[in-house]
Symmetry: C2
Subunit: 302 residues, 2 copies
């Protein structure tokens, strides 16, 4: 990895962490509940989702305070889903990122409430920044992330029988890739005036009015390239996790790609998804994609 990449990543993470701290401090919750929220949010993982939002935002416009706020909304939504997924009635995970999961540390009731609180806080941050930049459509992606993403995926993961590799990829697309894809698309939409119109294309319900006036076919194509990147990178991200755990000899919770494929085939599948993501980046965005390209390379397993 290049030094430039590491520096840029460290800068994003610092900004994200500062803003997440502020999101918690700004609430009127009792101090002991703020402590739980911070326990869940810090030290945090790779901050992949907000970093992707900020990177795609940087394609045309430098992210401002509002964009950062929005990025933290995405991270809080991710954090809520981890807390609830870890709970005994769900995946029953005692550890998360090397420390006791929230319910192990503070009990189930507080974990349930902390997850609920972070989901509200996520929307609150998104509403604020959407109002500030006049792009409210982006939020719709995240309000559908239950239906088309996190919750739907978790439900299938827990209850669908007769799993095949296609079923597994379907679950990874919903549970993991939907939020990652949403981060890329909303960051990209935030960075340009026609973002609202472009995002409307993704929502086919009767309430969404698609206004593509002033959007060229080339711009539409670029938008779908962003979607392709997000979806394929998101699925690859989960496959990478499975394969890394397998190689390290760790026990995977639930189903893994290694239940269906041998190691060589699993690696090939992972690298195929990563290749598709990289190819999507070769579209003529007119902005700098080098950070994203390096990010993808980090997940290649040879």
């Amino acid at each position: 990895m290049s030094e430039k990449f590491d520096l840029r990543l460290a800068e994003w993470k610092e900004q994200i962490d500062d803003c997440l701290n502020k999101c918690v401090d700004d609430t009127s919750y009792p101090d002991e509940f703020k402590e739980i929220l911070k326990y869940a949010l810090f030290p945090g993982g790779k901050r992949l989702r907000p970093v992707l939002f900020l990177e795609w935002h940087s394609m045309y416009t430098q992210p401002d305070k509002n964009a950062l706020w929005y990025a933290c909304g995405i991270e809080m939504m991710h954090s809520y889903s981890l807390i609830h997924d870890d709970m005994p009635c769900m995946d029953n995970d005692d550890f998360r990122r090397g420390k006791p999961s929230v319910h192990k540390k503070y009990g189930e009731a507080k974990a349930l409430l902390a997850g609920d609180a972070l989901l509200d806080m996520a929307y609150n941050a998104m509403i604020d920044s959407s109002l500030a930049v006049g792009d409210v459509k982006s939020m719709k992606h995240f309000s559908l992330s239950g239906d088309r993403g996190i919750i739907h995926g978790q439900y299938l993961d827990l209850y669908r029988k007769n799993k095949s590799i296609d079923d597994l990829i379907d679950i990874y697309e919903k549970k993991t890739a939907s939020l990652i894809k949403g981060s890329c698309l909303s960051g990209y939409a935030f960075s340009q005036k026609q973002g609202n119109g472009l995002l409307s294309m993704l929502f086919d319900d009767e309430m969404s009015v698609v206004d593509l006036s002033g959007v060229s076919p080339e711009e539409i194509e670029l938008f779908y390239a962003v979607e392709r990147f997000g979806k394929n990178f998101g699925i690859a991200f989960q496959l990478y996790d499975d394969i890394s755990e397998y190689i390290a000899g760790e026990k995977t919770d639930g189903t893994s790609v290694l239940d269906f494929l041998d190691l060589a085939a699993a690696k090939e599948l992972l690298n195929n998804y990563l290749n598709t993501a990289t190819t999507a980046l070769s579209a003529d965005f007119g902005g700098d994609t080098s950070f994203l390209k390096e990010l993808v390379e980090k997940f290649i397993i040879v």
Copy 2:
């Protein structure tokens, strides 16, 4: 109660129920998960919150499809909070409205997911209708309902020691009155062009730009009358519950107003809150408040 009141209430409920059905049917969730969502939403209680939204909306403008959608968003948010509150780690209630609570019927994991799903669906409905009417500020009230309302109240209810009557009223204000107040205020704001500006007054954070240009002092006063109505009626609603259960000889979950006051004093307190709500309705709104007045009267206990 007058026949006119009953008819109007029945009409609202029918419209709300139809729309809630549509909200669930419109998702892409598996059928068995849709069944759980409908189990939680139906037959439903008084539909008090969406009815209040629609009534306040009717003060100046007849609610349209978007308003109904928004009202159902509020009801889904209410429903999510009931599902999670009933869970074993929280209030551990086996029954809700005379039938097994969601986790008793479907298990804890599905109940947790159903609550999460309804919160996302609530925001999704609100985002759609907010976009349609151009009033996005209303949503902020609900995104803060965790911090200043439901979650905060539930946390205090579970963990705060040395409770006094003031503590209890504080919890009722957060846990119950905040959503009821929000329903009144957002309905009122939806019905008029200056709604966005008026609602901004309630949010004192740095992200909220208060634009009160074109709003007269009289309009601001009326807005605060709506808030007063919602807050006092909301607290009264919870006191009414406590007193009714006590009179019926039922065991109250958790603390009740009867732990601090005798029956006569509790009734007096309830009726004081209801009086304040009724007085707020006597402001010169220039619209029809007769339904709201009758609604308040239903909660008087002599």
